[in-house]
Each structure stands twice: as structure tokens, then as C-alpha cells.
């Protein structure tokens, strides 16, 4: 019976297969490979025969994992039940994060959700138990955060029934959002079919400072590529600027690659990911990734001459990165923060803000709550000294 966890043995076996398949492709193509290509070629159902034209060929791939959230899992698992199998064929998890309605606050809302969604939770729990699926109950965490902490591993490939599945790209995993029927295929032991994506490289230069944060990198990219600019493409970030971003910051950027319509987004394995793996008690996976750097990073030739190997290369200078505010109504309605006031006036948007909401699956909560809190309190003290409304 397969294990739900990404154990060192499972990951070592995944690397062994990747090595084998990539060797076949290197012979066929005879050129350096991007990281996303290594993910893709390393998971080909049949590396000998697959047609390999980016933007044209449909590939049959063998993902390592499947993740489902509770809203989409219902229909996926109703479909899986009709396949008549005893167990899922690859490690799979269900995460109850979508059905909790925000109204009053954490504990009361959770209590209400458990009551109002009882039959759905009972169904998902029992169907998970029956078909060998790991089950994360309501309140246990948001799917993308739990996957990053527990299951993602560099070089791996995962599909998830949620469009923000690419969050796991923060740990150099090829993680793609799919419909439930795709997930059912993979859980039933069939390959995942997807168009061989075009390769878009994002070269991150310099280092962020001041108000700029990881979020601004993806907001700027959205402004450049728009909400359909990433359709049937993989966004691959690289460069010295990438190394200065935390693994969770990288996850934030990859998560919102969904807004570009991208198949997924990835960062190459680096020291920040190693630190994150060790901090989440997965040192053995860091050791394995270190031993297999050729599988979890892009080839040197691609790094030094990206324009030769990507279909398109975008450069972002992090030294000059300004905070961005996007919206309303579309995430690619992007502008630097300095232009927001004027845009609001010209469009007649209500100036007064009714709510400010912090959080979501693409945010490293510790950062916000621990570090930013100190900053906020300093701010408030400063304000108090001036006898402001906060006194």
C-alpha cells in the first residue's frame, strides 16, 4: 500500500526515475534544459516516444502526488468512486479549508462550519479513509500551506484540484492546478495529460529593499504578462535575486502565477529551500536534493544564456522594485503604489476602505504576525506619542 507522506525512500525513487527519463531526453534533444523541462521530462510516461514541441504537443505525465481541497474534492471523489478501485494509485490528500465561512471570528466560525457542513465532512472523511487518502480536517490548515510544510519536495510533480496549487513551486516542485477529472485519472493510475508548456524565464536581478516584498514581484509580472500571458506556459524564476527570497516568499510568487493562467511557476532549489526543509524537519529531503542538484536546478548554460533556451525572458530589477497595488476586478490591473491615488480619483472609486484583509494561502503567516506585528506596534507607539486616535 502506498504511503501518504513524501518519505526519503519515495523521493529517492522519484529522483532515480527522473535521472533515467532525463537521460533519454538529453540524448534525443542534445541541448541544455531549463528546470521546468527537467520536471516535465523526468515525469514523462514514455520518454522514448513522446512528441516534444512546446506550445503544441500534449504530454502524458506521471505526477508524484495529488492534493484536493474540500470544495473540489467532493466532485473528484464522487467520480473516483465510480471507477471501482480499492485505493488511490499515488499519494493523495484532502484538505478541508474552503467550506468555513468567515463571519464572526476563528473559533465560532469553525464551530458553525463543522455543524453546517457535517454531511460533506463525513463523506470526505469516510471516502478518504476508504481509498487510502490522507485527510486534513477543518481548521487544520489551508491546503497550499500544509502541502508546502508536509509534502512538497524539490524536483517533484504534483497536481491539485485548486488553481493555486503552484504555491509548491516555492520548494522547486512542479505543481499544477487541474480539474477534478484530471485528478481522478492520476489517482486511478492513468497519466496526466497536459500541453507541453512554453517556457517563460523571469530573470530576477538585484535585491529587494524598503517596502518591496515577494508579492510585488508577481504583481509586476502580472502587469507585464496579463491574466492570459501565461496560458500554456511555465514561469521559471532564476538569477541572484531569486536566491535572496525565502522559500515561502517564492511560494507566494508561484501561487499567484495562477493569475497569469500559467501551467505552473517554479524556482530552482537553493539554500533558502534547504533551510525551510530542515526547519520543517525534512533534513533527509534536503540531503537528497543536495545530492541531486542536477535534477532540481536549471542547467548552467540556461542560467548564463537564458534567451537561447526560454521562449521569452523577462528581467525584473529588484533594486528598483516599488510596491504595487492591483485591481479592482482583475489582478493584472497593475500599477505602482505611487499611481493609485490618481487612478482612484480618475475612476471615481470610493476612497474610503471598508475592510483590509491580511493573510491567505500564499502568505507566510509567521512573517505577518510575528515580524510585522513588531513593526505595527512601533508604529502605533509612535502615533500614541503624538496623541493620535490610537492613544
Amino acid at each position: 500500500m502506498i504511503r501518504v507522506e513524501s518519505t526519503p525512500e519515495f523521493v529517492a525513487e522519484a529522483y532515480r526515475k527522473m535521472d533515467e527519463r532525463i537521460a533519454v531526453i538529453r540524448k534525443r534533444l542534445g541541448r541544455p534544459l531549463t528546470l521546468a523541462e527537467k520536471h516535465i521530462f523526468g515525469h514523462l510516461d514514455d520518454p522514448h516516444t513522446e512528441d516534444l514541441h512546446p506550445g503544441r504537443s500534449y504530454l502524458q505525465l506521471r505526477p508524484d502526488r495529488v492534493a484536493m481541497q474540500d470544495a473540489t474534492a467532493q466532485m473528484a471523489l464522487l467520480q473516483f468512486m465510480s471507477a471501482g478501485l480499492k485505493s488511490v494509485a499515488v499519494p493523495s490528500t484532502v484538505h478541508c479549508d474552503h467550506l468555513i465561512q468567515a463571519r464572526v471570528g476563528a473559533s465560532e466560525d469553525l464551530k458553525n462550519a463543522v455543524v453546517t457542513n457535517k454531511e460533506v465532512y463525513d463523506f470526505l472523511r469516510s471516502v478518504s479513509q476508504k481509498f487510502n487518502i490522507g485527510f486534513w480536517q477543518p481548521g487544520a490548515g489551508i491546503i497550499h500551506q500544509v502541502v508546502l510544510e508536509q509534502y512538497a519536495f524539490p524536483g517533484g510533480m504534483m497536481i491539485g484540484t485548486d488553481s493555486h496549487t503552484p504555491n509548491a513551486g516555492g520548494l522547486a516542485m512542479f505543481a499544477s492546478g487541474v480539474g477534478g477529472a484530471d485528478a481522478v485519472d492520476v489517482m486511478a493510475g492513468l497519466p496526466w495529460e497536459v500541453m507541453f508548456p512554453q517556457r517563460i524565464g523571469v530573470h530576477l536581478k538585484g535585491k529587494m529593499n524598503g517596502w518591496a516584498s515577494a508579492k510585488d514581484i508577481i504583481l509586476v509580472t502580472l502587469g507585464i504578462l496579463t491574466v492570459k500571458g501565461g496560458t500554456n506556459a511555465v514561469i521559471e524564476y532564476f538569477g541572484e535575486g531569486a536566491e535572496s527570497i525565502s522559500a515561502t516568499g517564492k511560494g507566494t510568487i508561484c501561487n499567484m502565477g495562477a493569475e497569469l493562467g500559467a501551467t505552473t511557476s517554479v524556482f530552482p532549489y537553493d539554500a533558502s529551500m534547504e533551510r525551510y526543509l530542515r526547519a520543517t524537519e525534512r533534513g533527509a529531503l534536503a540531503d537528497l536534493a543536495n545530492k541531486n542538484k542536477h535534477l532540481v536546478t536549471l542547467d548552467d548554460e540556461v542560467y548564463t544564456s537564458p534567451e537561447k533556451y526560454f521562449d521569452r525572458v523577462i528581467e525584473i530589477d529588484l533594486d528598483k522594485l516599488e510596491p504595487y497595488v492591483v485591481g479592482p476586478h482583475s489582478p493584472d490591473a497593475a500599477r505602482p503604489i505611487s499611481e493609485l491615488k490618481t487612478a482612484a480619483k480618475e475612476n471615481g472609486w470610493p476612497m474610503s476602505l471598508t475592510n483590509a484583509l491580511i493573510g491567505s494561502c500564499r502568505i507566510h503567516r509567521m512573517k505577518i504576525f510575528a515580524v510585522r506585528r513588531r513593526w505595527l506596534i512601533r508604529l502605533l507607539r509612535k502615533a500614541r506619542r503624538r496623541q493620535s486616535i490610537f492613544a
Binding site: 500534449y58 470544495a71 473540489t72 466532485m75 473528484a76 468512486m81 474552503h98 467550506l99 468567515a102 471570528g105 469553525l110 462550519a113 463523506f123 479513509q129 476508504k130 490522507g134 485527510f135 486534513w136 480536517q137 487544520a140 490548515g141 500551506q145 510544510e149 488553481s163 487541474v178 480539474g179 477529472a181 484530471d182 481522478v184 497536459v194 517596502w211 491574466v227 492570459k228 525565502s246 533558502s272 525551510y276 526547519a279 510596491p323 504595487y324 497595488v325 492591483v326 493609485l340 491615488k341 482612484a344 470610493p350 474610503s352 476602505l353 483590509a356 484583509l357 491580511i358 493573510g359 502568505i363 503567516r365 509567521m366 504576525f369 510575528a370 513593526w375 505595527l376 508604529l379 509612535k382
Partner: protein, 354 residues
């Protein structure tokens, strides 16, 4: 429980925050539309700001009148202090506070005291047998019955149900919010079908002129059910990047259930196009995107020579207009890819694998 949330609870920092803000559950909440607001009236245009990842109309609170702005958590906090969009934290004094903000110092990569491992809330698979029970009377879960297979004939003179204009994301096709609870019940959730889509002929949201009766401002799903009940199928026409956004396959399953034969657009988003194929709906694109403009209200649409559907082969559409004229339009399809065994809806994939 999520390790970072566990660490957060252990530090007691949540309770500090509670003094000035509402701490929501460890879940998706308003980011995906699970937000029951009572601070604004229905139809009240209002602005919100967040560090979330998506802001389509109606996304966060179900209201298309909420203007949702996205930014980083740091900047969201700055705007929370200011309470107005008429503010630039980089250069302005915070209104009412009389102070200028300084940029936050860089956050460390990892929590200083590490994460806390916690398996609370996780349930491993059972070793013995488990009974899966779905109440046949449930309004939230419904065991699926296979869709009716395609009869192999051309689609002739199908009514145009909807011509969608502009953005038509999966939030427009199958909105979340109050509908989320029906995600396990295909028939019930299908009542939301296209309720967020903009009708190209009059700019109205979620309502169309009934293709059978001519009645105005009918809910799109209701008209679809009527056409299905009459024994016919229907077609939807869409604009650019149709189906962008969420992976929810209900945006394909509901149309399939209510009788959609094909979706014809200027272009598709990847996940949705794949979902349509898997549920047995033909996803087609205009060879000439300008042909979108040729589709008129009340059109009868025919898709011809489908028996000879082959990889890369174009499909001919004949659009008969209400005034007696007609247009021949060529459409592209990508069904060449589909060569696997279908789990839920067999006909299209079997067809294309031949």
C-alpha cells in the same frame, strides 16, 4: 495542524491581534468568497484592500459592487491604518495619525524559534473497510450518474443559449459564495450556471432572452433546463480567455448536465478547456477571432461533419440568424490530445481516440 499556525498559537500573538482586528479561522475565508458581510448594504459600491491573490468581480464577498484591490501584507497594513485609497505610504503622512510610516525591516526567512510539528487535525487512511454513506435525500451530495453518450450525429440548429461578453471566468460561469455548499450536488449547483456572465446583447448579468419563448431577462440556467426538457441541446459563445481562474469543474459539469453541446470562444484558459473535454463538451475556438461578432441573438447554430472529427481538423459552424441570413464560420479544436479512457463522461474521448 499547519506548523506555522501551531507556532503562531504557541506565541500568543493571535490574542494580541484580536484587540484590534478580527482573527479568522485557519481557512480560505474571504479569499475564496466565504465571507458573510453585514457592514455594507447590497449593491453598495465599496473598496476593500487585501493581501489575497484574486479579485474578480464578486470573488471575495459575492458582490460585484465591491472593488477589491490586492497588494502585499505590509502595504495592506499601511492602508488599514490610513483607511483610504487617497494615500501613498511611501510619501504621505497617515491621515488622522500625523505620522509618516517607515519601511518595515526585512523579515527573517524562518520563525526564530522554529516551527512546531503537530499532527492535530490529520487523519491517516484506515486499514480496515470503511462505509461511504451518501444520503439520497441530501441537498449537498449526489451520487453521479453517467452523462448520456453522444449519438454520433452532427449538432444541427441548436439554440444559442448565451453569448458572453468580456471576462467570463469560472467565477462568472459557476460562482462560489453561497453556491459553494452545493459543490457535491451537481443538479443543485447547476442553478447558478452563468449567473455571473455578462450577456453580450444587452450587458445584463446572469439573464438572457429565452431562446424558446422570447421572454426577456430569464435566468440562464432556467432557460437551459427548458431547452433540455424540450429534448434539445444548446451552445454557448464566449470571448477571450474564457474559463480563466479557478479549477472548478462545475463550470464544465453544470453546462454538460443542462445540455451544452459546445462552447465556442475566441480563446480558452487551460484548465477549463481540459475540463470541458473531460465532461464531454466540445471546446472550439474561432479561427478568425473577429467572427465572434457574427454571432447574433436568436441564432441557430449547426456544427457539421462531426463524424469525421480528426486531430487538427477544423469544424464548420453555420450560424442561421433570425433575419434569415446565415454565416459560415470555421472553428479550431484540440481534441487530438484526448486519447485516454474516460472515467466520467465517455463519448468525446473515445471518439477522438479512434
Amino acid at each position: 495542524m499547519s506548523r506555522s499556525i501551531r507556532r503562531l498559537s504557541a506565541t500568543g500573538r493571535c490574542s494580541d491581534w484580536r484587540k484590534s482586528a478580527t482573527v479568522l479561522a485557519n481557512a480560505c475565508g474571504p479569499c475564496i468568497g466565504q465571507w458573510k458581510r453585514d457592514d455594507v448594504k447590497e449593491g453598495e459600491v465599496n473598496s476593500i484592500i487585501s493581501s489575497y491573490n484574486r479579485n474578480f468581480p464578486g470573488r471575495n464577498d459575492g458582490s460585484p459592487d465591491t472593488l477589491s484591490f490586492l497588494t502585499s501584507p505590509e502595504i495592506t497594513v499601511a492602508y488599514a491604518l490610513a483607511g483610504t485609497l487617497d494615500f501613498d505610504p511611501m510619501s504621505d503622512v497617515v491621515p488622522g495619525l500625523g505620522v509618516k510610516l517607515t519601511p518595515p525591516s526585512p523579515a527573517p526567512d524562518l520563525p526564530p524559534n522554529g516551527y512546531i510539528k503537530d499532527s492535530q487535525g490529520y487523519l491517516a487512511p484506515a486499514t480496515g473497510d470503511v462505509n461511504v454513506i451518501v444520503d439520497p435525500k441530501s441537498d449537498r451530495l449526489q451520487i453521479l450518474t453517467p452523462f448520456e453518450a453522444w449519438d454520433g450525429k452532427d449538432y444541427v440548429d441548436l439554440p444559442l443559449l448565451l453569448k458572453a461578453k468580456g471576462k467570463c471566468t469560472t467565477d462568472h460561469i459557476s460562482p462560489a459564495g453561497k453556491w459553494l455548499k452545493f459543490r457535491g450536488h451537481l443538479d443543485n449547483i447547476s442553478n447558478n450556471m452563468f449567473s455571473g456572465a455578462i450577456n453580450a446583447f444587452d450587458g445584463e448579468r446572469g439573464v438572457i432572452t429565452h431562446p424558446l419563448t422570447g421572454e426577456k431577462k430569464v435566468e440562464t440556467s432556467k432557460a437551459a433546463r427548458d431547452i433540455k426538457a424540450s429534448g434539445a441541446k444548446w451552445i454557448v459563445v464566449g470571448d477571450e480567455n474564457y474559463g480563466e481562474g479557478s479549477s472548478r469543474e462545475h463550470a464544465a459539469m453544470s453546462p454538460r448536465l443542462l445540455g451544452c453541446a459546445a462552447v465556442i470562444t475566441r480563446s480558452f484558459a487551460r484548465i477549463h478547456q481540459s475540463n470541458l473535454k473531460k465532461q464531454g463538451i466540445l471546446p472550439l475556438t474561432f479561427q478568425n477571432p473577429a467572427d465572434y461578432d457574427k454571432i447574433q441573438e436568436g441564432d441557430k447554430l449547426s456544427l457539421l461533419d462531426l463524424a469525421n472529427l480528426a486531430p487538427g481538423k477544423a469544424v464548420k459552424l453555420v450560424a442561421k440568424h433570425a433575419n434569415g441570413t446565415s454565416d459560415e464560420i470555421m472553428l479550431d479544436q484540440t481534441l487530438n490530445a484526448e486519447r485516454r479512457v474516460q472515467v466520467a463522461a465517455p463519448e468525446l474521448r473515445e471518439k477522438s481516440s479512434k
